[in-house]
């Protein structure tokens, strides 16, 4: 049990005895700031920033929150395929952290974590150290280049962008598509699931095809998927490719990448060699670097096991993991990252007050994909905690759109505006 928790309990009881009140809200009886201790959050993406905001909100400011994030800006991965299609620019998806910091009194360290000492409860950064009562690790994904060693260099990634973390990589890929002559071949490779954003690669195929159809109609999109089939919104994507891009998109399942020749932009699969004018390799993925630094990954599976009531790591007490790094059957999406962040935030607030978290959390996930410049479709599900299995399972009644539609295109844009406002203000 942590020291602060014991202190809190004792003070809570003392305050009660002194005033003769049983306190509905022990937080305010303490007369000290911040009375409940400090949470350090590593990672200012969808998961980390949401957790920071909601811990401050739900603890009524009684928990000190420090976010450590190396980037000075937030760049949204959701909607970044539209940059490739040409209906958005990367600047449409780039935001500052100043609102959320000021509105909620979140402390912020723009710095890079170099080590985590879970015994001493300390985060070591390039420019300092931070002690924590509880730590949240929200580092997103890291690429696993073990099987693709010649893509490890920055130079190789310039020539063959992943564009799977939004930013300059996205801009780079769009530039390459713009510079490609009509009649060229764009090849993209999809790693075996799980990876960030299950429908994302298929949406990307649509977006690039949409750009080609309007500007370079003799060009092709070849999708090499390591999976046996389209793993999200399958029927809807297949329908879109057939109806909108019959001579452009070619989808090949069971096409795991064996190696890449960087100089000639050639992908070698077990059965085939495919040469591209523009090549986009989405590499295999694992839990983010900071999770690796803290030794939070499972021994034989590169993701982090957690308790789904609190998102506390199964291997390190007082360390919580949220977002894409979590080992689960849940889709690695932005909405999911925020949903996990709020369960974690709520649980941490209760735990630091010496109380119990919700024993049966329920949350939702909605994910939109655009198949051209206007039409979008969703997959949506409620997830419930399954007590015997101790995991989150999809509730009955979820599903996908009947058809992609312009109405859902409007909803998808509204989804983005709302999730950005929720996370960043």
């Amino acid at each position: 049990m942590n020291k602060n928790l014991t202190l809190t309990r004792r003070n809570f009881i003392k305050a009660g005895a002194a005033t003769g009140l049983l306190l509905a809200n022990p937080v305010f009886s303490m007369g000290r700031k911040p009375p409940l201790g400090r949470v350090v959050i590593v990672g200012g993406g969808y998961a980390g920033t949401t957790a920071a905001k909601y811990i401050r909100m739900w603890s009524l400011g009684a928990i000190e929150v420090v976010v450590v994030e190396k980037s000075s800006q937030f760049v949204s991965c959701p909607m970044s395929n539209l940059v490739l299609g040409g209906t958005k620019t990367i600047d449409d998806l780039t935001f500052g952290y100043d609102f959320v910091q000021k509105n909620h009194g979140i402390q912020w360290a723009q710095d890079e974590v170099t080590a985590i000492n879970t015994q001493a409860k300390k985060v070591i950064m390039k420019c300092g150290e931070l002690n924590y009562d509880r730590l949240i690790v929200a580092p997103g994904i890291d690429f696993d280049y073990a099987a693709l060693p010649n893509l490890m260099t920055k130079d190789a990634q310039q020539q063959i962008p992943h564009a799977w973390k939004a930013g300059w990589q996205t801009v780079n890929l769009r530039k390459q598509l713009e510079q490609m002559p009509d009649g060229g071949v764009f090849v993209m490779t999809i790693p075996k699931a799980p990876y960030r954003c299950p429908p994302g690669p298929y949406e990307r195929a649509c977006q690039v095809a949409s750009y080609f159809k309007a500007h370079k109609p003799n060009s092709k999109v070849i999708v090499l998927d390591a999976n046996a089939e389209v793993i999200s919104k399958k029927g809807l994507f297949q329908k879109a490719w057939k109806a909108l891009y019959p001579n452009i998109v070619e989808y090949r399942p069971n096409s795991a990448i064996v190696s890449v020749d960087v100089a000639t932009k050639t992908v070698i699969t077990e059965l085939d060699q495919v040469k591209a004018e523009v090549l986009n390799v989405i590499p295999p993925q694992q839990a983010g670097k900071v999770a690796q630094l803290a030794n939070l990954l499972e021994p034989d599976y590169p993701w982090c096991e957690v308790d789904f009531l609190t998102y506390e790591s199964k291997v390190a007490p007082n360390v919580h993991v949220i977002g894409d790094s979590v080992s689960s059957g849940l889709p690695k999406s932005a909405h999911m990252a925020t949903s996990q962040a709020r369960v974690c935030a709520s649980a941490i607030v209760e735990l630091m007050k010496g109380q119990s978290p919700d024993p049966a959390p329920v949350f939702a996930n909605t994910c939109y994909s655009f198949i051209d410049d206007k039409l979008a479709m969703h997959v949506a599900n409620v997830y419930r905690y399954d007590a015997p299995k101790k995991i989150m399972v999809p509730a009955e009644g979820g599903g996908v759109s009947a058809n992609a539609s312009a109405q859902e295109g409007v909803y998808a844009q509204a989804w983005a505006q709302n999730i950005w406002a929720d996370v960043l203000t």
Partner: protein
């Protein structure tokens, strides 16, 4: 209702300072089970709607088209009727049926109460900015 029970426990707690720590633990447990669990459940569930409906139901409304997305301050009966309609299929939906069907009727009622109590404060339409050169 639970308040009296808590007061009784508290009086007992003061009266018998010898077994103080034990009773202190009990009092806390009562606080948790009585007042908190359903609130905790509702606040996380309601917050999960924020991706489309904004923080505490204060949706960003770029156009009149999504004024329906504002849930803050919405009449609880209205909310319940609409959501139950989505749940049983009697009300047409693009996406909401996939959420409503996954919730229990009790959860829908909890959400209705939660959102009806939120202040409609409006929401900020976030202004984007230029990506800086040194971002990854």
């Amino acid at each position: 209702m639970h308040h009296n029970k808590l007061q009784k426990i508290f009086i007992a707690l003061i009266a018998s300072s010898v077994i103080w720590p034990l009773l202190a633990q009990t009092a806390e447990d009562v606080v948790v089970s009585a007042a908190q669990n359903s609130d905790l459940h509702a606040r996380v569930l309601a917050a999960s709607c924020a991706a489309c409906h904004g923080t505490n139901g204060n949706a960003v409304t770029g156009s009149n088209e999504n004024r329906n997305a504002i849930l803050a301050g919405r009449d609880a009966n209205d909310f319940t009727t609409i959501m139950l309609g989505f749940k049983d299929g009697s009300r047409e939906a693009t996406v909401m049926h996939h959420h409503a069907k996954g919730l229990t009727e009790d959860e829908i009622r909890q959400l209705a109460v939660y959102f009806s109590k939120q202040k409609p404060t409006g929401a900020v339409l976030l202004k984007p900015q230029t990506l800086k050169a040194y971002h990854e």
